[in-house]
């Protein structure tokens, strides 16, 4: 810890302590009579209003990985693989407005806690529900691990813990941060990230606003920033002998890659279990709708965060530091802050990123834990589990999930986590038909959906594995070429998934294969129950 800036370090520690206190205090916030209930621990009592939900969903959807990886991608390759995230966060809200209110209503009516609960109730299929839960947990694990990668990027630039060769000593700060997070999540449940999201969002806003107004004055204005970005993208990479990236997608293929990546990611975001957890924690149906109109305010900020990538390119010192660190683009934004800001404000900005990792990591761990408890433990091992036991299992599961993610982040090479996250996006898209189509129609056959899911998972995984560049032989990206067009693999996979589901549905219907029981009623998809649901969670499917 020789080159640590102690002002920066102290600020980060103090703000981390503040968040820790908030996390523990959250257990007393809006306290319910009986905390030992999954509606309380796992969904914050389903009681959040527009204001809290805005912070919670904002804190949930815009992760530390966003703050690190999106500008890193813009820094490395420009618009198509980086700035597409802005188009994606535009589209996600109109798309979500179409189906999220229905998901909220049906989940509220039947007291569903996870998306797999809904699938179970709608199709009467344990297999399809298990597939949904399994996919959710599988996709979330690397996502949580990537939050840790975000923290690691900040710690590396701060010079904390990098001197030792011992893994445990080297990553000790990470262990401590995550350990503390695990404990207060265990105690407070979803209330902890909901309350700490306030601290996170305020810090993030301060960071972005200062960065956007201050940094351009230091490095020659926006004109210079965009010029630096354009020049870098046009330059020929010595490794690939192709341009570094795309500044503005003007060719047909780059445009198609840009829009399919954006559309695919937009479809995926709201079926991620942690998004569903955030959505179901709200009090009324119109709160979801309002937030779809209010959350784009958050996305404006994301657009500027993405542009930090070009700012980093425009600053020679940052480019040099990244090069010296082995060309790891993830470090671009932390280095940029360190070079531009006085050390105390660097501390504030770094805290924003670290805390920005903790909030979504907590919600993701809770979402995974709920999936495990409801759709694996209760469904297959202990159908008569009491709400109290469910909550206890979920609490422990959240610890296990975090431990797993920690192992991911520490033991696996970082590129591996990033590849898994990329795969996670492709995987989670494969449950989209079961959940979202299921909200509108019961036409699809449960086994056809299951077969489509399997086909999409296998195709997506293999296609992603085969993507290669001159520098990496496998898992090199998330777009590949289909019929001569560059397309996001997730989108190709879901098209295949849907095609198989349609064909098999026709076959199964003709063969009169049992359809399974549907416990939902049409009017329940638009219902807005005003009073809290009964304290006993629904036994999904048959009693």
């Amino acid at each position: 810890m020789s080159n640590v800036n102690y002002v920066t370090f102290t600020i980060v520690v103090v703000l981390f302590l503040l968040v820790t206190l908030t996390g523990f205090a959250a257990a007393r916030w809006r306290r319910a009579d009986d905390m030992m209930h999954l509606n309380e621990w796992g969904l914050g009592g389903r009681s959040f209003g527009t204001f809290v939900a805005w912070f919670l969903l904002g804190g949930d959807l815009y992760t530390a990985y966003t703050f690190i990886a999106v500008p890193a991608a813009v820094f490395g390759a420009g618009a198509v693989t980086g700035f597409f995230a802005v188009s994606y966060t535009i589209m996600v809200f109109p798309i979500a407005l179409i189906f999220l209110p229905r998901l909220w209503s049906i989940a509220r009516t039947h007291n569903y806690i996870t998306p797999a609960d809904f699938v179970r109730g709608r199709y009467g299929s344990r297999g399809l529900s298990l597939a949904t839960a399994f996919t959710g947990i599988l996709a979330l694990m690397p996502y949580i691990a990537l939050q840790l990668v975000g923290i690691q990027a900040v710690l590396t630039v701060m010079g904390v813990g990098t001197s030792s060769t011992n893994t445990y000593v080297k990553d000790l700060p990470l262990f401590i941060a995550f350990g503390v997070l695990a404990i207060y999540t265990y105690v407070s449940g979803l209330r902890a990230p909901a309350l700490t999201a306030f601290v996170k969002d305020i810090l993030v806003y301060v960071m972005v606003i200062v960065a956007v107004f201050y940094i351009p004055t230091r490095i020659g204005g926006w004109g210079h920033i965009f010029a630096a970005g354009q020049a870098h993208m046009k330059a020929i990479s010595p490794v690939t002998h192709k341009p570094n990236g795309v500044f503005i997608p003007t060719t047909g293929n780059s445009q198609l890659a840009f829009s399919t990546l954006a559309l695919g990611s937009a479809l995926a975001l709201m079926v991620y279990p942690h998004s569903v957890t955030g959505v179901l924690s709200t009090k009324r149906r119109d709160i979801i709708k309002r937030n779809m109109a209010l959350l784009p305010i958050y996305s404006v900020m994301l657009a500027f965060v993405a542009l930090l990538g070009y700012m980093a390119l425009a600053d020679k010192a940052t480019v040099a530091s990244v090069k010296k660190a082995g060309g790891n683009a993830q470090l671009a934004v932390p280095y940029l802050f360190q070079h531009m800001f006085p050390s105390w404000f660097t501390g504030v900005a770094f805290s924003a990123i670290v805390i920005g990792a903790l909030v979504p990591a907590a919600i993701m761990a809770i979402a995974s834990a709920n999936l495990f408890t409801r759709n694996i433990f209760k469904e297959f091992f202990k159908p008569d589990a009491s709400p109290r036991l469910e909550t206890q299992v979920s609490r422990w599961a959240s610890l296990v999930v975090k431990l797993g993610a920690l192992a991911f982040a520490v033991y696996l090479p970082r590129t591996f986590s990033i590849n898994l996250q990329l795969l996670g996006g492709i995987w989670i898209l494969q449950v989209f038909p079961s959940i979202v189509f299921g909200l509108f129609t019961r036409w699809f056959h449960r086994w056809a959906l299951l077969a489509g899911w399997l086909a999409g998972m296998v195709f997506g995984t293999i296609a992603a594995y085969k993507v290669a560049t001159p520098t990496t032989s496998h898992w090199a990206g998330s777009v590949d070429i289909e019929f001569g067009h560059t397309v996001y693999i997730g989108l190709t996979a879901i098209v295949l998934n849907i095609a198989i589901a349609v064909i098999l549905t026709l076959i199964f219907k003709a063969a009169r294969v049992p359809e399974g029981a549907d416990e939902t009623l049409p009017q329940q998809y638009t219902a807005d129950p005003t009073d809290a649901p009964a304290p006993v969670p629904a036994t999904v499917g048959r009693q």
């Binding site: 109109p94 926006w222 305010i297 638009t526």
Partner: protein, 103 residues
């Protein structure tokens, strides 16, 4: 199944065809004008120092917020008090044959 459910769900959309159409158009437009990249993948006209491509996507954010706010306001008009919400999704559109499958 499909026909049966579409008859059942005629309600709010048939009662307010214009409002429903406006809602559908707004939601589709909000998606389309971001999805169709050739529309804005240009460097000019520059707005300040921002190439048009970047300016367009940044300014789109608050616009989509306003458009969706209009949509949810219109949806309220669609539903008499605490009734079902309408929208482009079509109130209870489909949920096809739910009841008979339960049999």
């Amino acid at each position: 199944m499909a026909q049966e459910s579409s008859i059942r769900s005629r309600g709010p959309i048939a009662a307010h065809p214009v409002t429903s159409a406006v809602i559908a158009i707004l939601v589709i437009a909000a998606i389309f004008f971001s999805l169709y990249v050739p529309l804005y993948a240009r460097a000019t006209p520059k707005v300040g120092d921002f190439p048009f491509f970047y300016f367009y996507l940044i300014i789109y954010m608050p616009v989509v917020g306003i458009v969706l706010w209009i949509v949810i306001t219109l949806q309220k008009r669609l539903e008499p008090s605490p009734g079902p919400s309408g929208g482009p999704d079509g109130p209870a559109a489909a949920s096809g044959g739910a009841s008979e499958v339960t049999r």
